[in-house]
């Protein structure tokens, strides 16, 4: 049986260290070396203070669900319908799109606390995902 490839990230230029860190199950985000603002997606300068100095730092992995949707139509072979997607706010500030692993909340998902985990896709790609916090 053929394995549907995981859709690849676009584009890669500033995001390479992010995806490298994910591959190592050690998710890091870019952070301004001057004003400490977290950046996601990564970029060439700080949108807050214009600094070109940046570092990569591991995130806490704690987050909260902002919204969720269920695809009832299949757009991507790797994700047949019904497929669920969440938007979370990391405790560091940025919003991330991801998927919920494991148990699902009853009723509304909004406001649920979640923690970072890593999933290995059938084609071997590692994805950062989230599971309900204990």
């Amino acid at each position: 049986m053929e394995i549907a490839p995981t859709p690849q990230p676009v584009p890669l230029v500033y995001d390479i260290p992010f995806w490298e860190s994910v591959k190592n199950k050690d998710m890091q985000l870019q952070r301004c070396a001057d004003c400490a603002e977290w950046r996601y997606p990564a970029g060439p300068i700080c949108s807050q203070c214009n600094s070109e100095n940046a570092v990569w730092e591991r995130v806490s992995g704690e987050a909260e669900i902002l919204s969720w949707v269920v695809f009832h139509k299949t757009y991507l072979p790797a994700y047949p319908a019904p497929h669920k997607v969440i938007a979370v706010r990391l405790s560091e500030g940025p919003i991330m799109i991801s998927n919920l692993e494991g148990k699902e909340p009853e009723g509304s998902w909004i406001g649920e606390r979640v923690s970072l985990c890593y999933s290995e896709m059938p084609d071997g790609m590692i994805l950062p995902r989230f599971a309900l916090s204990e």
């Binding site: 997606p41 009832h72 994700y79 497929h83 997607v85 994805l127």
Partner: protein, 385 residues
């Protein structure tokens, strides 16, 4: 505010027959390409304006068509030109006329998006990397324009205390308007129950929350106010415009999920109201770019038609359909008339002000408001006489 009032007016409108376009494309035909649809619409608009073609000295072409080819086909060697989406085309024409770069500008739009199978979702989504947030989240299976609006709608509905039935009021109202519009593709009225029972595409959005992708064309002739007064029996003036963008955090969807574009809408609205000297209470009708139904409640709050937090009451108690307090998308909008990427709304504004909207005519309409919030670029145009 530096801009003078009513510098430009629309003196001609044209379109292809969207219902026929729909039927032919669904039957597997390819009646025209984008240039062809635009050219047909241009012929109608030129005829409607009654002016000689030689007076046109500006050309703006919709983003889905090659500019050079369009000028070649129409035989227009202009002294000012450009390429832009619907609302930016109107604003740019207004600016060019005011700045003296052109006197009469043809705006033409043609799109073979349906027959060409244009993808607004999936890995080959239109725009791709140039509209990063369309594709940035594809590793997690988050793709398509509708899904972005579904994420917005879910959180917005919950914050505003709206049920799916409340949300359904938008699609129901627009279908009721479309039932009175012969140019609309979907004219069978629906109830809130029909809406709730309809299938989901990306939950919480139902199929009735999505625009009707179709082939077709639209054209407008916009002229300097003096010229318009002299040459046109029924010019429709651009009384005021405004624009405000929210780009910070755009890729991570911050403006969509937490601001709902409200600050930008409020600013764009304020600017246009000041220039035109009117407010939401003076509008006879409100037209909203509605690729998805959720645009409508966002705009009702963002442009001051109802207080922020009260849109549920506005939709269910005051109403936006026929007989409601505020006529909204009286042509049926993208949900029921046709997805002409905001261009069809400009035609509806002109028809309403000209009193040419037939059965759906808003009685004695003088002032019509158009707004769009596409990807956080909030724009406001006030049309009137």
């Amino acid at each position: 505010m530096v801009r003078k009032r009513s510098a430009a007016a629309i003196i001609g409108i044209g379109q292809t027959d969207w219902v026929t376009d729909w039927k032919r494309v669904r039957a597997g035909e390819k009646p025209a390409d984008s240039v062809g649809y635009a050219a047909q619409a241009f012929q109608q608009a030129l005829k409607d304006s009654g002016i000689p073609k030689g007076d046109i000295d500006g050309l703006i072409v919709g983003p889905t068509t090659a500019y050079e080819r369009m000028g070649e086909v129409l035989g227009l060697n202009v002294r000012w030109g450009g390429q832009a989406d619907a609302v930016q085309s109107v604003l740019q024409a207004h600016m060019a006329i005011e700045a003296g770069y052109a006197k009469v500008i043809a705006l033409v739009y043609g799109n073979d998006q349906r027959s060409a199978g244009t993808q607004y979702g999936g890995p080959a989504a239109m725009g791709g990397g140039s509209f990063l947030s369309y594709v940035y989240h594809s590793p997690w299976g988050m793709t398509s324009q509708g899904a972005l609006y579904a994420l917005t709608a879910r959180r917005y509905q919950e914050e505003r205390g709206m049920t799916e039935a409340d949300m359904g009021e938008v699609a129901v109202a627009q279908r009721a308007w479309a039932s009175m519009n012969e140019a609309a593709i979907q004219r069978k009225t629906i109830t809130v129950d029909d809406y709730i029972e309809s299938r989901y595409v990306c939950e919480p959005l139902h199929v009735f929350d999505y625009c009707l992708v179709n082939d077709g064309g639209v054209a407008l002739i916009i002229a300097d106010a003096e010229y318009a007064k002299k040459m046109s029996p029924n010019p429709v003036s651009i009384l005021g415009t405004g624009r405000s963008d929210l780009n910070t955090g755009a890729t991570s969807l911050e403006p969509r999920l937490t601001d709902y574009y409200l600050p930008a809408q409020q600013q764009a609205g304020k600017d246009s109201y000041e220039i035109a000297g009117v407010g939401p209470e003076d509008m006879d009708g409100f037209l909203v770019y509605d690729s998805f139904s959720v645009h409508v409640p966002l705009a009702l709050e963002g442009y001051g038609y109802t207080e922020v937090g009260t849109v549920k009451q506005f939709l269910t108690e005051q109403g936006i359909g026929p007989g409601g307090k505020l006529p909204v998308n009286t042509h049926g909008g993208h949900l029921s008339e046709s997805y002409m990427q905001g261009w069809n709304h400009q035609l509806e504004a002109v028809r309403q002000v000209r009193q040419q909207a037939g059965a759906r005519q808003i009685e004695n309409a003088k002032t019509i408001h158009y707004t769009s919030d596409v990807a956080g670029k909030c724009m406001s145009i006030i049309y009137g006489r």
